[in-house]
């Protein structure tokens, strides 16, 4: 029975990783590419770690597999957030069919500040002290 689970998780995990890699090639935009690697890629790697836990029924291996799974699932969103933030500040272009970019009107990319007001309204309100740094 555990052999069946090993084979199942191996195949499904590798399939998810392949879907993630396919998305990295096919998607038109950095943010969409990150979306495929973060979700499908991380899930695939985690499922392969679960397959190892089913194949070696020892406590040490199971603990390590769960550690890999937890680590991949915890760090993939953080890494995606950091890279996406850096790429947005650097000015990587979005897809030309992007419908809405709310950060564009609220994020001061020079001072690395995110405001709740729109930037042009804020500049109208505070003529004296705009962009202190």
């Amino acid at each position: 029975m555990s052999e069946f689970f090993t084979a199942f998780f191996l195949l499904v995990g590798a399939g998810f990783v392949l879907i993630g890699a396919l998305g990295v090639v096919r998607m038109p935009d950095l943010m969409l590419r990150m979306h495929t690697t973060t979700k499908a890629g991380a899930l695939g790697g985690g499922l392969i770690a679960v397959a190892a836990a089913f194949h070696f029924p020892e406590t040490g291996v199971i603990v390590r597999s769960v550690a890999i799974l937890a680590f991949v699932v915890l760090t993939a969103p953080i890494a995606a957030h950091i890279i996406g933030r850096a790429a947005y500040f650097v000015g990587v272009p979005l897809w030309e069919k992007t419908l809405k970019d709310e950060l564009k009107e609220r994020l001061d990319t020079k001072g690395h500040q995110l405001y709740s007001q729109k930037l042009d309204e804020r500049a109208d309100g505070e003529q004296t002290d705009s962009h202190g740094h």
């Binding site: 052999e3 590798a14 990783v17 890699a21 396919l22 090639v25 890629g41 770690a49 680590f71 790429a87």
Partner: protein
């Protein structure tokens, strides 16, 4: 477990590795390459685990764990470099 399962898993992961390498070479911007590198790191973690299962050696799982840690650190480092004003065309 039938042996073709291991073979098919190796094939799928290698195909994913080729696709990730294509995006790594192609670019067009540095964050794209960082994303491709992160994907390649997680594919390599998968390959190491499949190798450990194939040869019945559970010690290699430690290698996969360390590699997962290192890939995350590399992504954070690249992001810091980009935000501190690195060029984005390389």
């Amino acid at each position: 477990m039938p042996t073709w399962v291991i073979t098919v898993t190796y094939l799928l992961l290698c195909l994913a590795l080729i696709l990730g390498f294509f995006r790594l070479v192609r670019g067009p911007s540095l964050p794209d390459r960082v994303v491709a590198l992160e994907l390649i790191a997680s594919i390599t973690v998968g390959l190491i685990i499949v190798y450990a299962i194939h040869h019945g050696m559970p010690y290699f799982i430690d290698v996969a764990l360390v590699l997962a840690l290192t890939g995350f650190m590399a992504a954070v480092g690249f992001a810091r470099y980009l935000e501190r004003g690195g060029s984005r065309h390389e």
